[in-house]
Amino acid sequence: MLNTTDRRRILGPANAKPLVFDRSSVPVEENQESAKKSSVSTGNDAIYIENGIVVNCNGSSYLEVRSRTNDKNCTLLLTSIYGPRPSRGAFNAKATLSVQFKEVTLEKIAAGQIKEICTFLTNVFNAVVNLERYPKSGIDVFLSLIHSSSGQQDFELESIITACVNGITLAFVDAGIEILDTVSAGMYKRNVTAFMKNGTEVVGFWKDDDEQSSSENILEIVEKCKEHYLTNRKTMIEFMVRNKNASD
């Protein structure tokens, strides 16, 4: 990848070096403080939801997750769904689902990790979307991460995944594609769990780091995630009901 030049994009001078910011002068206490806050604030986010921002797709949702305690921690995510649209090739009795993730402004997630997120999310929604309903078609989900600065960087990926699950569900609702339940995800420390059926079924579990919660029993972690899931799901359902009432 590195050796091939990209002729399709204007890349700029080859000898340019990226900007290196000096981190030694940054007050360290401040960072730690905000990190503490963000770990406390899990489950205490203000969520702003908007539907149908992208018009040339079948359904879209825009999610702004802002921590209540620290206004500066926010994740902005735009989800758009294209499909069900006819897929070429062999006959498929079920729709095929694909998830693409892209960072629109800042690029800081490694390519391999993005692939991991995509396959994880695809697996979650394979269990959730009623794919039998859409034979011979493809449903493509595009996630565009506009901004994310959830304080301490370690927390970022997990809060992004949480936002992705919630965003995709809302976009499916906007697109009118059948899903089995309002799936939503909850985060506890660095664990993300996606639930359905009122928290009795897990459709996705993601645990990436040991240190924060290594001693805790997995069922306790899932239970903590569930609390966050229930508040997230409540927010989403309230939004959908309000949206419906407004359009009636």
Binding site: K115, V202, V203
Partner: protein, 262 residues
Amino acid sequence: MVMSLTEKRYLQECLISKPPLRPDGRNDDQFRPIEVFTDFLPTSNGSSKIVASDGTECVVSVKSKVVDRSLEDDLIVVDVDITGRRDDSPLVQEIASILNRVLLLQIDQEQLRLTQKYSFKLYIDVLVLSSYSHPLTLISFAIYSALNSTQLPTLISSEDDLDVAELPTFHDYDMSKLNIDIPIMFTLAVCGQNVIVDPASSESDVASNGILVTWCKGKVGAPIRTLSLNEEYTRGIHPDRLAESIRLIEILAPKVLQALDG
């Protein structure tokens, strides 16, 4: 092997029943027999070949290089190549990314330190010659055996070279064994109420979900996550299945390691 809808339904029913009836007659906590060969590549520092009973075959080679620690952040690089799949296919990229991160996360980089300034950097090349089921478990077993058989040249120059402009020098033929904690990863399949280890390809095809569990330093560690084994039968699972798979690995992992070490 592509199964018909009826065959799949039959197999699914078998696996859901309690206890699960696996097509090859295994118990739910039983692995398929594997054959491991180590240290067969003369040009690499460590190598292993692993062959599973279904014909899945995986070759791992470990090579090392001396690097300046201040210039290199990641001292372990894993490269995965699966025959029949493009390098940029999701499965290959996902497996490479998981392995890279697990090894960096769980292996203490201090263990690769050579002198104050220099470290060994390990290049782990994974080649999956033929794969029928999700290859992650097998790859991680192969990496474990390869790293365990890795011999690195013995340092003869001084370890304290902070103020000396000197490159490390090594003994002409003495090698010392690499000594690090190596994580291994298990894939489990959830079929209804059952959790089965080491799913064969036909079992993966009808599983309700997959779970990836990592074992390192004598306990279950991160990452733990749900994993896609098929697109057709994926369902939500009860949280108890997660706990159950961890319990299963806690029992099995020491035995597996014993077998791999032996």
